[in-house]
């Protein structure tokens, strides 16, 4: 990456690095003891990983703790890293296992108590023209986001993980199947059931909300 440091604009330098260095190359750099490579991987995957884990466990502190644990495991395992799979497959496999274990360990008791409490700094999944939106539109959007959040949270854990990886991480079927440890056909079946459940639940909630008005 040294040749790119000729650039005087920090923003441009950062963009070029991101474009030219693959995850595998960065991880091989980490393996060789280059801390800057680990920083770059952290910059790339910090937010996607925290968001994925937050949507899985619905607890900000736990999501950040699990994301740190995932990065920690990557760093610890750097010497034995072999580039035989995509880095994202490895990272999200660690994160998914951590989240599923966390949920199965029964540490969700406090989280279930606050099922309808959103994090104060939650941002909408889709960027909206906030300035142009009226208060009523904002309220409707918030209500809709809450319904979607609860519908996703009500999915069985593995279905939830599959939907979150498929819809938001832009990963292929083969990669998601590797992350969740199942076959591609089993994954497609799992995803279809999950989307059908969401479709039915959101339709029912929309109908109930329509009747209430």
């Amino acid at each position: 990456m040294s040749e790119l440091q000729l650039s005087t604009a920090p923003g441009v330098l950062y963009t070029l690095n991101r474009m030219t260095t693959s995850d595998v190359e960065l991880m091989l750099g980490v393996k060789a003891g280059d801390e800057a490579c680990f920083e770059e991987l952290l910059a790339r995957y910090r937010t996607p990983l925290v968001v994925f884990l937050y949507r899985m466990v619905r607890d900000r502190a736990a999501a950040e703790d699990l994301a740190q644990e995932a990065f920690l495991r990557v760093f610890r395992a750097r010497r034995s890293y072999a580039p035989d799979a995509k880095f994202t497959t490895w990272l999200f496999r660690i994160a998914s296992n951590l989240a599923l274990n966390w949920l199965r360990d029964g540490r969700r008791r406090t989280q279930e108590l606050s099922l309808d409490r959103a994090e104060e700094d939650e941002r909408p999944g889709l960027d909206l023209p906030d300035a142009a939106a009226t208060i009523e539109q904002q309220m409707l959007e918030r209500e809709r986001a809450l319904r979607i959040r609860e519908a996703v949270a009500a999915l069985p854990e593995k279905q939830r993980a599959a939907v979150l990886l498929h819809k938001y991480q832009d990963l292929g079927y083969e990669e998601i199947a590797r992350i969740l440890g199942c076959s591609q056909s089993a994954l497609k079946s799992l995803l279809f059931r999950a989307y059908e459940t969401l479709r039915a639940r959101l339709a029912a909630e929309a109908a109930a909300a329509g009747k209430g008005k």
């Binding site: 968001v51 939650e122 909408p124 959040r149 819809k167 079927y173 279809f192 989307y195 479709r199």
Partner: protein
């Protein structure tokens, strides 16, 4: 393509990973099946609705906490770490020390002469010098030599050793 077999193809159409052939088959099927057409439309709405799922940003302390955990996880230098990491070298060194100790304890001790042997050696030294002493006695008391011409002078000059 029947309604059951279309499920996975519907999924691929939804996420944009369907092949052109799959997409054509789905389009053909939903054109003939009103139930699947409704389901397809409903799934598209669900897919679009999921764009509104809220997200969060990692807290500003995320990196600092991670670095603290990385520092905690870093191996601390301990006296037993190096030997554990270099077991072969340690085993080789221990073997050499043991071999040296064994050789040292079994090596042949230097043989010291007994008093009898010492006496014997002294006697042997005397015996060894006997011819010299005998020659001296013979030469110092050999009267016949004094009769030789010039021997008187020489013998008077040569003083016997006391």
């Amino acid at each position: 393509m029947n309604c059951q077999r279309i499920e996975t193809a519907l999924l691929a159409v939804l996420d944009g990973r369907a092949t052109a052939a799959d997409e054509a088959r789905v389009t053909e099927h939903v054109a003939q099946c009103a139930a699947c057409a409704r389901r397809m439309e409903s799934l598209r709405e669900t897919w679009a609705a999921l764009d509104h799922l809220p997200a969060i940003e990692p807290s500003p302390l995320f990196d600092a906490r991670l670095r603290a955990r990385l520092a905690e996880a870093a191996p601390q230098p301990r006296w037993f770490v190096w030997p554990l990491a270099h077991l072969r070298l340690v085993a080789l060194a221990a073997g050499l020390v043991a071999a040296t100790a064994v050789w040292y304890s079994y090596r042949p001790a230097p043989v010291l002469p007994t008093p009898a042997q010492e006496q014997s050696q002294q006697d042997f030294a005397v015996v060894k010098n006997l011819p010299v002493l005998e020659n001296y006695d013979v030469l110092s008391n050999f009267d016949a030599l004094s009769a030789l011409p010039g021997a008187q002078q020489t013998s008077s000059q040569a003083q016997p050793i006391e």
